[in-house]
Symmetry: D3
Subunit: 224 residues, 6 copies
């Protein structure tokens, strides 16, 4: 499918661009609020992870809602089965750290479905199991209680806020050691190209600095 091959080319570029360079480029384009506050990588050695956003929206739990407390795998099991291969599940958990938005059984299923990564501004649980699953995960905390302790999944594939950033379904999520950056879908290609250029500029500058050039004396990089 051409959509997929386009994405493959785009993601290929983005795998070589740091979230730092993307954040820098986004600010230059007038998008000043695209870095997601809160989530950090759960494991030390996750690769840079890129994918289309599969958004999930949680709200505070209410005891009278049917099945709100019934199971360890609540309504988000349906959401999981709707996640496309290669997508990144990104959850608006309202910063709640007293209940997990993802646990090991759900995550193992997501691995099976080919989900590329997970981002939540809330917490995850089953730390050991999650690491063992191999899924790259960015979360704002570790917890023990299940989602139903505090949260219900209200909807998926809606626009959400995550860590103070707007995320629309199919936006591009890029996550690495410095955190998570959201690229608006319509700007992703341009930002990726400018990001790659920014990477080259950074390397050029870094090389000079390593040779002993002072910061005010850094030579500008020739374009082209």
């Amino acid at each position: 499918m051409s959509q997929n091959s386009e994405d493959a080319a785009l993601f290929d570029v983005l795998h070589h661009v740091t979230t730092d360079s993307l954040a820098t480029v986004l600010i230059k384009k007038g998008l000043r609020n695209q870095w997601v506050k809160g989530p950090v990588p759960l494991g030390a050695n996750f690769p840079r992870t890129v994918g289309r956003a599969f958004t999930m929206r949680f709200i505070p739990v209410r005891e009278d809602v049917p099945h709100a407390h019934a199971k360890k795998l609540p309504v988000n099991r349906d959401a999981v089965e709707a996640m496309p291969e290669g997508s990144i599940a990104i959850a608006d958990a309202r910063g709640e750290l007293g209940a997990a938005t993802f646990g090991d059984i759900v995550v193992y299923r997501m691995v099976k479905r080919g989900v590329a990564g997970i981002v939540t501004d809330g917490a995850v649980r089953d730390r050991a199991g999650l690491i063992a699953s191999g899924m790259p995960i960015w979360s704002a905390g570790i917890t023990a209680p299940p989602p139903a302790a505090r949260l219900m999944l209200a909807a998926w594939n809606e626009p959400i806020g995550c860590g103070g950033v707007a995320v629309y379904p199919n936006d591009i999520v890029v996550a690495d050691a410095d955190g998570v950056v959201i690229l608006p879908s319509g700007l992703a290609r341009e930002v990726a190209e400018l990001g790659a250029e920014q990477e080259r500029l950074d390397e050029w500058q870094l090389e000079q600095v390593k040779r002993g050039v002072s910061l005010p004396d850094l030579a500008p990089m020739k374009k082209g």
Copy 2:
């Protein structure tokens, strides 16, 4: 319409029940998280206000979204025109105090449409104008910047979280000097009746206390 006359009877009961008694009754029914954290009354003398929830969901603003910054009255003008008479507009503003979720022009229009009240876990602006409008408002802060400084209206009439509480469209919102309590739609009548009974119990106890009865000696109220 029978819905309306049912509501009128229900609201009539609720106008005489404090949010304290409702919170007490809700906890006894197993609903422990129905008081909305954050919003306080903007004015000193608002009457107790009761209505069906018209939910509004805000997300962080993004500069590339068309019209996000264009106007003082952004997309929420459409939401306002959809609000039923007697409803209470309740906004999930994610606790954002650096931008208003409501200002005076919008609120004057809501007065014209017969909206009964406003609740937001964010901020409002035009304090003087809002007071002059006569609209009862519960907000978590006062601010000067317009919504577009930080927020976009993403949707309305969806389940939301507001001040840490789940709110579904058509839930009953009750607001008074002690804040805002949410009654799940299906439980509202029962809670209202138990709340009225709780009021009578409180008055009975208060009367005894004023006569000098100690707390351990308070006589139980005869039911019936």
Copy 3:
């Protein structure tokens, strides 16, 4: 009783010393952390209030503790009956604003018992009733849910922390428009006297400033 007449003389001095002057004097004596963070006066016109501390210690509620959820007036009814006339009830509520530490029935009983005032680093409820009771109250918030929503009274007349300050039973609590200051029992008389002197110094300085003297030219006050 001589204790009482001593207290009466001490309190008489303290009724004319601002919490500002007391805080200033305490710092000079090496006590740098005696102002209680959080509580503000519930009403606009409370007089300066002085009394011996009757401490109350709340902990998070637990559902299996007998009677934790049973009543509007939980175990603190026994505490109330133990409060001496003229004391100030001061509650360590751990900053919890989602449940009240005091409501109107309890407070009316405290009025009957001659309790002089209430301080809590949590919340109170029944705002209108509390104002009507005439009890001077300093709290960190207003709420609707009863204590049992979040808190249990664990003990009274123990050393506590309130708003970041250590409070021992029988410490002197002084509360006015600028908040609440705790005087350690053993230092209270000395601090009161120094505070009264500080008041005279402030008035002397203020009088000069009103006459147009610049701050560097303020004459020192003759001790006398």
Copy 4:
């Protein structure tokens, strides 16, 4: 002096423009972060207040710094004597609420010097005295301890941050019931004029709304 007459004309315009309209105009000009988070008016009836910024920068207190604890009126007495008539003293207090940045003696002296107003992202003390002084004050809290409990004045007339906003000496500070907005000195005249135009637009829209026009049907205002 022409500077003063220019300022007088500018301030005259600004006295009739709300901080809301200014914040709206500033965002349209690309300045998205000019509303000061935290300070609210200490009194209920302060007029809109406008003046050039006299910046003050506080840092945490250190016990070995000479005179850090010595007096109620520490080094800021020199700062006060340097404040120009008509200026607004605006303090970077780092959000510290456990010590006052201003108290009554200092403020009475500022009244004598013709200072137009006070803004702090920290606290003030001597609430009653401050209200009696007539000085319009916007602060983030009320406290009892003196500055030396937590803070030292490090410098004045330097660029500061206050409530999350950059403030340069001689920027224009506008404060009203909705809070405090900072106008960069070089943009003040243009923003004031656009603000006045925004006021007229708002009044035009409000008038229509009061006549019953719906929000989508609001007629655009003819320019000129």
Copy 5:
């Protein structure tokens, strides 16, 4: 002693149950607030740790309290000598991160006494020494200052709050990579058994998921 052999059997079960499963079971039993917010494991490889709670209650330091500032090992040295073998010391430090609740000398002594673990919602210090001691520790932060910088030990073996959870002396504390869960003493055996069953259910589900079963198709586990 039979108490000890009972505990040994109970702890043996609990060593094989995750805090996740315990939190899930507790919620099903109606105890929704048993996960301690704040503490995380200080070291990467601590085993799951189980023991009876030895509670410690800290309050803010006060300079006039005798010995409050005198020593690196203040009054908590007496508490340490009262800790039973196999207990877990759990401290209510009020979330204070600017002073340690435990340092290396105290912890080495606790190792000698056979204390099984440490939990604090405050901070610890001497990171390297603590790791070297081998004691499993869950804390909310690392700091350098001694307890006396901010805290005093007020009491031990009293009911406390820790990280938002009620803890009574002799409650069961279970701590692992996902944090700390408190089992009320009277419910511990039942919860442990249900927790073990929950573990088997999780493993059963996980095995199916690894084989490729979708979440909605997960077969229920046969009981017994």
Copy 6:
């Protein structure tokens, strides 16, 4: 230069004293607030780092300030070229985690200049690059956006606040696994010597504890 040889001797002592012992000694000397709240070591194996403070002061970014958004290496490039060999750059970033105060290019240049370490109460970015540079860094967070997203460098070599502590230029900064402590310049030698003595006392006590001595029985160390 004698200054340097004096510093060398002082730093030699301090390299063998923990921040814990320094914090303990400082409190005994009446300096109760010298531990910097927020910064933690970026890498696991940094040596204890000691140097004179090169202070940097950031304020919130403003869009109209020339070059505020122009470059990845904003005005702090001049600051970097002014840093003396062996100094520690310490930044007052106001706790801002949404923008970096340092990134890899700047830090590589600081390595070239012989800067001994970096402390910020804000965030850094380019985690991998920073680790690779070998520079010891203490920061309060990791982020992706460049400084210009939220911050501007306002000045250097001024008194600042960092993590709630006053820092003057040329104060001594000591950083290790337990965080960062500031020694006032004039007290550094005395504190270092007392700190070394405190270390010996701790070792003496620790040795006794390892031999099984109880805490109350710890023998006092003979002063030598």
